[in-house]
Subunit: 336 residues, 2 copies
């Protein structure tokens, strides 16, 4: 049995369904079959060949092959709302009978009314109020169970499928391809670390300890002689924008040589990666496919991919993936 | 080539010298040759066999084989002072010409005078003052370079060897044995995360992202168009006592099934581990060997292993390693 096959079997044993088809290696000699043969794919294949070929001037030893990926909008759908935000609204509704005051108190009222447009006007402060109310006061085990139960039942409003089906097939292929080439793949996301950890291993083959995200504080308590971690309403770490570079240092402790994002919140992660000693790869996913997914790039006022980021990417040579042109398929369950 | 040999070659390629002899697998069929054939060794071998044997009622899949180790006093010598504290004192001396006020200001004065006894009377507050002064105001890269340079030159006062030579051979064998059996080995230490990460990969085969420790905040800044992380004088996370259980959740995100410590600061990590669903192993290193190392267990007023912890370990069935009786060798360079 070859090393690669052995590793792939291990990965396959952990990787669940999540809308993914059978593992890449079983399908094709092409490691990225869902990518069109365009410049971005060539750049990725070329980069990996150069850093993994022993004797190449760009060779990087396996322990330095760190790859970091944003999550929302880079590995799975983030429109019309971040999935975790949908979860938060559903949790507000689920526990509202314990909070009669929410019926008249914003931003809870808008959440209960399903008035997302108004809810979004409360901005970051409103989001923090809702997250705090729904992400604390329970144990870490209880929270994890709640997320898992929600992921099994909640469905995306447009695609009518579980959110875990809305992972991007080309990106899962890319994660597997990098790992098959000795890379360690990490998520570096502004999203809540414990929310993501509930599904990243099954959906992306990324275990909890390779997930970097925003985190709340916890408190160790002995309850009936059983150790428990209680989630507190205090922020420990905010992993977005400059926080992504800080989070990479805090959690991973080594500079990436490969990074992929899709928004202005990923700029510092990409800059930090671009500062690597040798060859490095920086990529951005451009959502320009309203037919198969969504279109909210520099030409729209939705999302966080401004014109300035596109210009910067072009100026410094970061690869920009056009979902429309570079991806043959987006979801494993959809017709190409 | 077998899978195990391939993995061992990879590990050997990364593992440096650090006082370690050639890798275990090259020496003997016994995976723990530096351990005497006493009850603790039997318990370890038995535990690993039970959780790794497919079909065993205690079988644990590889992705759940999390093992966590304290560092100071568990993986390397912590007497007469924590190594990082020696580094801190040396740094105070090295930069004191930029701080003339330290000559008369405690705890800096005692550090400059080499008066360790007096320095220790300033307790945690004094330690934090010294750590803050020496661990902030530089970039993460500069700090890492400083630690590396110090580790190459500083020597332990009794053993007259670099501190990285003072790792425990039996524990390095244990780390390698666990990894060879599909475990992921993590450090969970009260020590500074960036100080440890400078040497854990080379000395223990533990990469930076498997190191959990106390951490300061950093700030992302662009300096001359280059991204930089500056170390700030603010604590982000304190990883000792209950903080070890919280840190395991924060950094690793999965409960260990195997943990080793040596002090009261490890109690919550061991309790959190003991709360595992199936079979789990909890161990404590008891320093009772004044001839080959140090003796500072429950019978002494040095260190942090009180009588109550020994009684608790006996009551709940945690394994206690007697360095004197259970370890055939302690350091790879010393005569057995």
């Amino acid at each position: 049995m070859t090393i690669r096959l052995w590793r792939n079997l291990l990965v396959a044993a952990v990787l669940g369904l999540c809308g993914a088809a059978s593992p890449v290696w079983a399908q094709s000699a092409d490691p990225l079959p869902s990518w069109n043969d365009s410049a971005v794919k060539t750049d990725i294949l070329d980069f990996v060949a150069r850093v993994t070929t022993d004797g190449s001037p760009d060779y990087v030893p396996p322990q330095d092959r760190i790859a970091t990926f944003d999550n929302d909008g880079t590995l799975w759908v983030e429109q019309p709302l971040y999935t975790q935000f949908v979860f938060v609204i559903d949790r507000v509704k689920a526990v509202s009978n314990q909070h009669p005051e929410w019926k008249t108190k914003e931003p809870f009222k808008s959440a209960l009314d399903g008035n997302t447009a108004k809810l979004l006007t409360y901005g970051e402060k409103g989001a923090i109020a809702l997250i705090t109310a729904t992400h604390s006061g329970m144990t870490t085990v209880e929270f994890n169970d709640t997320v898992n139960a929600w992921l099994k039942t909640a469905k995306h409003p447009r695609f009518k499928r579980p959110y875990t089906d809305l992972t991007y097939k080309p990106m899962i292929e890319l994660l597997e391809y990098l790992r098959a080439n000795g890379f360690m793949t990490f998520i570096v996301s502004g999203g809540g670390i414990e929310f993501m950890r509930a599904y990243t291993e099954q959906c992306y083959g990324i275990p909890p300890w390779h997930v970097v995200g925003s985190a709340g504080k916890t408190e160790f308590r002995m309850w009936d002689a059983s150790p428990t971690l209680v989630k507190l309403p205090d922020l420990l770490f905010f992993d977005d924008g400059p926080g992504k570079a800080e989070g990479i240092n805090h959690y991973i402790g080594r500079q990436p040589i490969f990074a992929f994002g899709n928004s202005i919140g990923d700029k510092e992660m990409l800059e930090w990666t671009a500062n690597c000693q040798g060859l490095c790869f920086m990529g951005l996913v451009h959502h320009d496919d309203a037919v198969r997914e969504y279109a909210y790039g520099p030409d729209s006022d939705v999302g966080r991919f401004p014109v300035a980021l596109m210009e910067h990417a072009e100026a410094v040579g970061w690869d920009v993936v056009s979902m429309k042109n570079d991806w043959k398929e987006i979801f494993s369950w959809a017709k190409p």
